[in-house]
C-alpha cells in the first residue's frame, strides 16, 4: 500500500514546524489587518492634512477612546465565552455617577475611583449567576439590567450634572511625561489581559467554553463557575473604564452615554472576536477602539462631516463580519 503517511516512511522526514513569525501571523490575523488598516489610514489622511499626526492630535486619538478600549477588553472576554452584555454602557453611566458623587462628597479620591470597580463586579456577579445557574440567556438578562440601570440612574439623579469635581480626581487629564494617562492605562490593561488570556488556564478555558461547550464540559471545565467569574471580571473592567470616563471632564453628565454598549461590542467584534464565541483577542478590541477614534478624527481632518462616523463604522463591521463568515464557510466545506 502506497501510503505516504505510513509510519515506516515518515521517519526520514523532518517534522513540519512553523516559524515564530508564521505562528504569530496565524494567531493574530485580524489584529494585523486592523493594524495595517490603521497605518494606511494614517498615511492617507496625513497626506491630505499633515496636522493629523501632530502630537496633540495623536494624543487625542489614542486617549479619546481609551475608556471604550478598556470596557471592550471585558466585553471581548464575554463574547469569547459565547455571551453578550448590552448593559455595560448603562453600568458605566451608573458607576461614573457613583464615582463623581463620592468625589464631591469629600471622600478620598482613591475611594471614589475604586468603589465603582467593586460595584461593577457586584452587579455583574448578579448577571453571571442569572446566566450560569438560572440559565436565562445573557441577552435577556442584560437587556433587563440595562433597563434597571438606566432607569435607576435617571430616577436618582434626575439627569443633573455633577460639577465641582476636585482637580486631583481628574486623573484622565493627567499627562505624565507628556503622554495622557488614559494611554498608559489602556496599554497596561490590554497587555495584562492579553497575557492572562494566553497564559492562564482560566483564560484558555473561556475559549473552550465559547468554542464547544459540550466538549468543554467533557474536558472537566466547571462552566457555571467560570461563566460567573468572567462576568465579574467584565464588571471590574467596566469599573476601570469608569475611572477614565468619569475623570476626563470637569463635569460628569449623570446620564447613560448613548449607545456606549454598542460601541463597546462593536470594538470587540471588529477586533476579531467572533460573535459565535471561541475566538478573538483583547489586543484586537483595543486596536479597534483606537481605530474608531482615528476614523472620527480623520473625518474631521479631511473635512468630511463627523456625522458620517457611524455609517463608516457600520460598513466596517459588515465587511469584517462577512469576510469572517465567508472564511468560515469555506473552511467548513474544506
Amino acid at each position: 500500500m502506497a501510503n505516504a503517511n505510513h509510519p515506516t516512511s515518515a521517519s526520514g522526514r523532518a517534522p513540519s514546524e512553523r516559524g515564530v513569525i508564521a505562528r504569530f501571523a496565524a494567531a493574530y490575523g485580524q489584529e494585523i489587518v486592523i493594524f495595517f488598516a490603521m497605518i494606511a489610514l494614517f498615511v492617507i489622511v496625513t497626506a491630505i492634512n499633515p496636522r493629523f499626526i501632530s502630537p496633540e492630535n495623536l494624543n487625542t486619538i489614542f486617549s479619546g477612546n481609551a475608556y471604550i478600549a478598556v470596557a471592550a477588553i471585558g466585553m471581548a472576554m464575554i463574547i469569547i465565552t459565547g455571551h453578550i452584555d448590552v448593559s455595560v454602557g448603562a453600568l458605566i453611566g451608573v458607576l461614573a455617577t457613583i464615582s463623581g458623587t463620592l468625589a464631591v462628597s469629600g471622600y478620598p479620591v482613591w475611594v471614589a475611583l475604586i468603589v465603582p470597580v467593586f460595584v461593577g463586579m457586584a452587579v455583574n456577579a448578579v448577571i453571571g449567576v442569572m446566566v450560569a445557574y438560572a440559565r436565562i440567556p445573557s441577552i435577556v438578562v442584560t437587556l433587563g439590567m440595562l433597563s434597571i440601570l438606566r432607569g435607576g440612574l435617571i430616577t436618582v439623579t434626575g439627569g443633573a450634572w455633577i460639577s465641582g469635581l476636585p482637580p486631583e480626581f481628574l486623573i484622565a487629564q493627567a499627562k505624565p511625561l507628556g503622554v495622557p494617562a488614559p494611554i498608559y492605562f489602556m496599554v497596561a490593561l490590554t497587555l495584562l489581559a492579553a497575557f492572562w488570556m494566553r497564559y492562564s488556564e482560566f483564560g484558555r478555558s473561556l475559549y473552550a467554553i465559547g468554542g464547544n461547550p459540550e466538549a468543554a464540559r467533557a474536558s472537566g471545565i466547571p462552566i457555571e463557575r467560570r461563566t460567573v467569574m468572567v462576568f465579574v471580571i467584565h464588571g471590574a473592567f467596566a469599573g476601570l473604564a469608569t475611572m477614565l470616563f468619569a475623570t476626563q471632564l470637569q463635569v460628569i453628565q449623570s446620564t447613560v452615554p448613548p449607545n456606549l454598549e454598542l460601541t463597546v461590542i462593536t470594538a470587540a467584534v471588529i477586533g476579531g472576536v467572533s460573535i459565535l464565541g471561541g475566538t478573538g483577542t483583547v489586543i484586537g478590541s483595543t486596536l479597534a477602539a483606537i481605530l474608531f477614534a482615528a476614523i472620527g478624527s480623520a473625518l474631521i481632518f479631511t473635512n468630511v462631516s463627523a456625522y458620517w462616523l457611524r455609517a463608516v463604522i457600520g460598513v466596517l463591521i459588515l465587511v469584517t463580519v462577512m469576510a469572517d463568515m465567508i472564511r468560515r464557510n469555506r473552511q467548513g466545506r474544506a
Binding site: 440559565r135 435577556v140 435617571i154 454598542l262 462631516s305 459588515l318
Partner: protein
C-alpha cells in the same frame, strides 16, 4: 407545546390584570377613556415593531436595527419632502420604501452570507443610524402641514388613527403566525432550521420575508413618530429596539426561537405601557419606571424558566 404557551400567557395576563387593578386603585385618572386611548397612541410605534419582531425572534433571530430604521425613515421623510420637494405623502412612501429595503438588506446579509442575526443587525444598526446622521447632518426638519398630523395626532371613530393601524397589524400578524403555513414555517425554522430545510420548507425565503417585514414595520413606525411629534431628528427611535425586544420576550417568546405568540407580545406591550403610565400618574418620575420594566422582564423569564424546567434548553 400549546399548553406551555398558554401557561406563560396566563401568568402574564394575570399579572397585567393585577397591575391594571392596582393602577386604577392608585389613581382615578388611570382608568379614563382619554388616558387609555392616549396610552394606546404612545405605544403604537413600539407596538408595530414588536409585533413583527415576534416573527423575527420566533425564527431564532433578532433585529437590533429597527430603532435605526425608524430614525432613517424619519430623516428621509423630511429630506424627500423639504429638500427634494416631493409631495409629503409621496415622500413618506418613498421613505418607507427605503426603510423596508433596509430590512431586506438585513435579510440578505443573514441568509446569503450566513452572518448571525445579532451581529448583522448590530452592524446595520450603526450603519442606518450613521446614514440618518450623515444625511441630516443633525439638523431637524419641522413645519409639516397640518394634514400630516392626522396620522400621529388625529382620531378615527374616536380612536387614535395609528392605534387602528396597530390593531389591524396585530390581528393580521396573529392570524398569519397561528393559522397559516407561513406561520408554521416560521415556528419550524426557529425550532430546528436544518429539519425545516430538509422538509422542503422555504427557509431562506421566509427569513428574508420576516426581516423585510421588520424593516417595513419600523419604517411605518418612523413616519408615525414624525407625525406624532411634529419634527424629524436623526436620533429618533434610539433604543426602540430594546423596548420592542423586551415586550416580545416578556410576552413569552423564547429568545432561542420556536416559541411565542402575537397575543403574548401584545400583553407584554400593554403591561409595559401600563407600568410606565401608572407609575408616572402615581407620582414616580418618568424614567424611573424603566427600572420596574427591567425587573419584570428578568423575573418573568426566571419564573417561566423555573415552571418549564423540562431540560429542553
Amino acid at each position: 407545546m400549546i399548553k406551555r404557551i398558554l401557561r406563560h400567557e396566563t401568568i402574564l395576563a394575570l399579572l397585567t390584570v393585577i397591575v391594571l387593578a392596582i393602577l386604577a386603585y392608585q389613581s382615578d385618572k388611570f382608568f379614563t377613556v382619554d388616558n387609555l386611548l392616549n396610552q394606546g397612541r404612545l405605544m403604537t410605534e413600539v407596538g408595530l415593531v414588536a409585533v413583527i419582531m415576534t416573527f423575527v425572534i420566533v425564527t431564532g433571530g433578532i433585529d437590533l436595527s429597527v430603532g435605526s430604521i425608524v430614525g432613517l425613515t424619519a430623516i428621509l421623510t423630511g429630506v424627500f419632502w423639504k429638500s427634494l420637494g416631493l409631495p409629503l405623502p409621496l415622500a413618506a412612501f418613498a421613505a418607507i420604501a427605503c426603510g423596508t429595503f433596509g430590512g431586506f438588506m438585513n435579510g440578505v446579509i443573514i441568509t446569503r452570507f450566513k452572518v448571525p442575526p445579532l451581529i448583522a443587525t448590530l452592524a446595520t444598526l450603526a450603519l442606518y443610524r450613521g446614514l440618518a446622521e450623515g444625511i441630516s447632518q443633525a439638523r431637524s426638519v419641522r413645519g409639516y402641514p397640518e394634514s400630516f398630523y392626522v396620522l400621529g395626532q388625529g382620531n378615527m371613530l374616536g380612536v387614535p388613527t395609528q392605534l387602528w393601524l396597530l390593531i389591524i397589524t396585530a390581528i393580521v400578524a396573529g392570524v398569519v403566525l397561528g393559522y397559516t403555513r407561513w406561520g408554521r414555517t416560521v415556528y419550524a425554522i426557529g425550532s430546528n432550521e436544518v429539519a425545516a430545510r430538509f422538509s422542503g420548507l422555504p427557509v431562506d425565503r421566509a427569513k428574508l420575508a420576516v426581516y423585510t417585514a421588520s424593516g417595513f414595520a419600523a419604517a411605518v413606525a418612523g413616519v408615525i413618530l414624525v407625525s406624532r411629534v411634529s419634527t424629524t431628528r436623526s436620533d429618533m427611535g434610539t433604543g426602540l429596539e430594546l423596548d420592542a425586544i423586551t415586550a416580545v420576550v416578556l410576552g413569552g417568546t423564547s429568545i432561542f426561537g420556536g416559541r411565542g405568540t402575537v397575543i403574548g407580545t401584545l400583553l407584554g406591550l400593554i403591561l409595559i405601557q401600563a407600568l410606565k403610565n401608572g407609575l408616572s400618574l402615581a407620582g414616580i418620575k418618568g424614567d424611573g419606571t424603566i427600572v420596574l420594566i427591567g425587573v419584570v422582564l428578568i423575573l418573568t423569564i426566571l419564573i417561566s424558566n423555573i415552571v418549564h424546567r423540562d431540560g429542553n434548553r
